[in-house]
């Protein structure tokens, strides 16, 4: 029954719309404010400082392109895989920040001052999105896309 619901083409379309929408929205501020996003990454204290700018330059565009492609296709599965990998990185980073008791902006949507603080809420959101990615990868995104993937 569950498999039938999850593999339904409308369920898959809804998951793609949500994931794509979230990732497109998440990329906007980061593209607009690369320096602030770089600082958000730095605040996690997980990456060598020299690599932070490159991540801040590239990651928002990966989010935007994957977000668009997972909605319209082509490359629905490829975008889902990439979104899944990014979510995995976010889950590890947020878990680590929570474990270390860091009071930092999560850098998820609005970056810099006024951004959301890392916490269980952000972690749960990312885990739920990761589950959505698994569903798309498992059942495909053939319907409602420009080209079959």
């Amino acid at each position: 029954m569950l498999v039938k619901i999850l593999s339904n083409k409308y369920t898959l379309l809804a998951l793609r719309l949500v994931l794509g929408g979230v990732f497109i929205y998440a990329s906007v501020y980061k593209i607009a404010e690369p320096a602030e996003f770089a600082r958000s990454i730095y605040n996690y204290r997980m990456m060598p400082e020299a690599t932070i700018n490159l991540m801040a330059i590239v990651m928002p565009w990966l989010e935007l392109i994957s977000g668009i492609l997972i909605i319209i296709g082509p490359f629905v599965r490829g975008s889902a895989l990439l979104i899944g990998l990014m979510l995995l990185v976010f889950v590890i980073a947020i878990s680590s920040a929570i474990a270390r008791g860091l009071d930092i902006s999560c850098g998820c949507f609005k970056v810099g001052e006024g951004g959301r603080i890392v916490g269980l809420e952000t972690l749960i959101e990312d885990i739920l999105m990761l589950i959505a990615v698994f569903v798309i990868l498992a059942f495909g995104g053939r319907s409602f896309s420009i080209r079959r993937s």
Binding site: A35, A50, T51, N53, L62, F75, G78, L81, D103
Partner: protein, 157 residues
């Protein structure tokens, strides 16, 4: 199955290459583009205020010569703060809310957390601009204060 996985991987690599190319190209043409490799001190706190060590801050606090100002967001402040500290955001309104301290002219020690030290730097600079004289930034933030065993208060404590 193997073909499907290889196809998915290939798609992901194409998107990855596209993302890297677009990201680098846009960064190259935009005025506020970042250096590809961050400089060693790029993320350090920049402030015109002097820094103060945890022990010196504690001594000034004990002698009643220092006000401690928390530059973090109000939620973090409510959760845990240095005992007796006030909360002020690094904005003009935040600085204005502290104007009453100035006449007494004690040391004003601004702190944040290790990860949000920049906010402390921004608030300290605004306080200097507003005419505060003895503004200091707590070097190791609230974490250093706690590590030294000095008192904190708040909802989590």
């Amino acid at each position: 199955m193997k073909r499907l996985f290889a196809g998915t991987l290939k798609e992901a690599v194409i998107i990855l290459v596209l993302g890297v190319a677009v990201g680098l190209a846009v960064n190259f043409v935009r005025k506020d583009g970042l250096g590809i490799i961050a400089e060693a001190d790029e993320f350090r706190v920049r402030t015109n205020a002097e820094f103060v060590t945890t022990e010196d801050a504690w001594r000034l606090f004990e002698e009643g010569k220092a006000f401690l100002i928390d530059a973090r967001d109000p939620a973090s402040f409510r959760r845990e703060r240095i005992e007796g500290a006030l909360n002020a955001s690094p904005t003009q309104a935040g600085v204005d809310s502290l104007a009453w301290i100035a006449p007494a002219n004690p040391y004003v020690i601004v702190y944040a957390s290790e990860a949000s030290q920049r906010q402390a730097g921004v608030l300290a600079d605004k306080l200097l601009d507003a005419g505060f004289k003895k503004v200091r930034v707590l070097l190791d933030g609230i974490e250093g204060w706690k590590k030294a065993g000095h008192p904190v208060e708040g909802a989590s404590g």
